[in-house]
């Protein structure tokens, strides 16, 4: 299996759209999940929903998370902390812009890159 991606945005539409775009560009084999919106469905993120998606996509190869702003990153960190240390080590938040980072990460994951490479691909974009 390849590295999985999780898209976390304040907006469910942005998260879904970003995941769709990455999947269309990287191929249907890409394992990518998304979540967006606060627990009431408004703009924001939900710790419970992030945790649920992480549980669904977690695998030995790792999971790379792409986030948009502020609370999305902090809630993702808290979600990672829900996992035991061994599992948490294989979940990484990429410091990259959401859409561009997701596309770069998806391409790298689809071509068999490991978790480090997937995150680097996303993060290098922001320095390009």
């Amino acid at each position: 299996m390849s590295v999985a991606l999780l898209i976390v945005s304040h907006s469910a539409d942005v998260a879904r759209g970003t995941a769709d775009m990455a999947r269309q560009m990287a191929g249907a084999d890409l394992s990518i999940a998304w979540t967006g919106g606060n627990p009431d469905g408004g703009l924001g993120t939900s710790l419970a929903a992030i945790t649920e998606q992480l549980e669904a996509v977690w695998r030995e190869e790792g999971v790379a998370i792409l986030v948009d702003v502020g609370g999305a990153e902090m809630n993702s960190e808290m979600a990672i902390e829900q996992f035991d240390k061994a599992k948490a080590k294989k979940i990484r938040i990429c410091q990259a812009p959401l859409v561009e980072g997701a596309i770069m990460a998806a391409a790298e994951a689809a071509s068999g890159g490991g978790l480090d490479q997937v995150c680097r691909a996303a993060e290098e974009f922001s320095h390009a």
Binding site: G37, N38, P39, D40, G42, L43, G44, T45, S46, L47, A48, V69, G70, G71, M74, N75, E77, M78
Partner: protein, 220 residues
């Protein structure tokens, strides 16, 4: 029958009961401040700070019966978790972490020094979670000096300690207004944030003030 004081009661149920009263006060306060906090956030952020804290307040009110069954430390930790789960914006993980770290640090029958130490632990947690420091124009500009003042005075007179905590919070808030935001959405507007009140600093000031009022009403 006292309300909660920072002075230790040997009856944990009485401590928790008073803490629930304080929780009610804070929830009512934050629900009433929803529009004001949204307005401050709209000026330099995304306009949701009041709504986020109102959602936290409603969730905490629903949790009240469950909290009543817990020890002080457990109740504060559980409340923090509810804040994180209900909010959805950056204030959720921040205020949630404040409470969760406080709860972890509290013994069963906390005295003034224990509360001061717990507050300090909570503030450290907020700084770590937000990767921010005092001076970044965030809630930490209020929480950090308030916590230091409480720690310095906690061994002396309760009323003096509460007054010092409130004064430090107010000074921190005033100082914060002139700063340029370095964290959160407000950082995107950069220089334009100078002269605006940070919504997180404002909500922190409201809460610290309410805690000082509530505890100060009891002669300890």
């Amino acid at each position: 029958m006292g309300r909660m004081s920072l002075a230790q009661s040997h009856n944990p149920a009485e401590n928790t009961g008073a803490a629930l009263e304080l929780l009610d006060v804070l929830c009512t306060l934050l629900l009433g401040a929803e529009d004001e906090l949204n307005g401050l956030d709209r000026a330099i952020g995304d306009g949701d700070h009041g709504g986020n804290l109102a959602r936290a307040s409603r969730s905490l009110s629903e949790l009240r019966p469950e909290l009543a069954e817990l020890s002080m430390g457990e109740a504060v930790t559980r409340a923090g978790r509810a804040v994180v789960m209900s909010v959805g914006g950056a204030s959720g993980p921040l205020y949630g972490t404040l409470l969760m770290e406080m709860g972890k640090a509290l013994p069963d029958e906390p005295g003034p020094g224990d509360w001061a130490a717990a507050f300090a632990a909570g503030v450290d947690g907020v700084a770590r979670r937000g990767r921010s420091a005092e001076g970044d124009k965030t809630m930490l500009d209020v929480l950090a000096p308030a916590s230091r003042a409480l720690s310095e005075e906690a061994s002396a007179d309760l009323h003096e300690a509460l007054a010092a905590m409130r004064a430090a919070a107010e000074d921190g808030f005033e100082t914060s207004r002139g700063l340029r935001a370095k964290r959160g959405r407000a950082a995107y507007v950069g220089e334009r944030s100078v002269g605006h009140d940070d919504p997180g600093a404002r909500s922190a000031l409201l809460c610290v003030g309410a805690v000082a009022d509530f505890l100060g009403e009891n002669k300890g």
